[in-house]
Symmetry: C2
Subunit: 230 residues, 2 copies
């Protein structure tokens, strides 16, 4: 007999796989910002038909990582200050609301679990696991709101954040920086949530997010100025 796992693995259409694959290629920087997604070459490269590729891109459209322009095809989005601002304001809103919620045991458990993972990955000192653990932790925070919609929404936000990290080479610079007290910051937040100090948690989260935002903004600004003179 086949296990449920077998089934769910089978149950993915090419379009969905394509969407995930392209997303991975984008957030990993293989497909760079502004790059066009040429249908025939990508289809050939992935060994699928143009039809399926296009369906996949349509799925990807909702992620905001690519944008279709009629007769010009899909293009990987280009970071702007305005968009980064929007992204972080959205993030800020979701997370500050979340920590002010009275948490359910399961959601709280998930926060604890991801926090443990974060601690472990920080010890390993490898950048990628830290980034992923960090994102998972914040996802768990939003999970406190216990809304499928909002969690799914934040999932997209996360993808966009990784995209910005990659484009701006932010991760290596900040996460590998021993002066950046990632663990301390997150410990404070978890503590505040545990103790039900909601206002405090909210302020800590705000400070944390705004600090990241300020740094990213700075880097992006430099980048934009650079490319302007080019």
């Amino acid at each position: 007999m086949s296990t449920p796992t077998d089934i769910s693995l089978q149950r993915r259409s090419t379009a969905e796989v394509v969407s995930d694959t392209l997303m991975r290629l984008i957030v990993e920087g293989e497909l760079k910002a502004g790059a066009p997604l040429r249908e025939s070459s990508l289809a050939t490269r992935l060994g699928i038909s143009r039809n399926s590729l296009r369906e996949g891109i349509r799925l990807l459209e909702q992620s905001r990582l690519v944008k279709y322009e009629v007769h010009r095809g899909a293009v990987v989005s280009t970071p702007t200050l305005k968009d980064l601002d929007d992204l972080y304001r959205t993030r800020l809103m979701l997370e500050t609301m979340a920590v002010q919620e009275i948490p359910s045991p399961e959601a709280l458990e998930e926060v604890e679990r991801t926090f443990e993972q974060l601690k472990e990955s920080v010890e390993s000192k490898e950048v990628e696991p830290i980034v992923n653990a960090d994102l998972a932790f914040h996802h768990a925070i939003v999970g406190l709101l216990e809304s499928e919609r909002l969690s799914a929404f934040y999932e997209q936000i996360s993808k966009e954040m990784i995209f910005y990290f990659t484009v701006l080479s932010y991760a290596d610079e900040e996460y590998a920086n021993p002066d950046e007290p990632i663990l301390a910051r997150h410990t404070e937040i978890v503590e505040a949530i545990r103790r039900g100090r909601r206002a405090e948690a909210s302020e800590l989260v705000t400070a944390h997010i705004m600090a990241n935002f300020a740094r990213l903004k700075e880097i992006l600004q430099e980048r934009l100025e650079e490319s302007e003179t080019t």
Copy 2:
């Protein structure tokens, strides 16, 4: 010379038109909850190819109004209590956050404008314009957050609300009800926003949304019990 309007009208791919059309058919109740979207017949009916139809459905997927099941095709979503709850919790969060924001003049202007429209439509006593004006007003509220992402997100939420209204025949029942003080409630909210009484505005919005939610939930519960005995 062609005007910009000409261009933007041209500049819609079939898939986008299809997506909008299907969405309209769904929120208007032409395509009922649980109904399958048969590709060949729909494509013929809309005078387009199956390819384009499928692309359109992929675009629609993000709206949550339809769901693809592999080898079973797209199906119009079925309302559940759980989902209605999720929907309204999300709505509540966005709107209460929004009215606590310090509003920009433009965003505030939009709130006033949609409020005027609401007043006018209430006078006309026609249900559909009232519903639309109501939704537009709440969209303007979320606009106070001045985030493109959150506004787009709320746009989806709105569509889902209309869907629930239609499925539950909620609009005719509630909006046409002269005892339901739609205008009074909204006037209070606008007043509170105008005067910068943010906490009060937040409470008024909460009360308003929760009242709607309670009524919708009641109706849905009845419906589900009915269909269970069938």
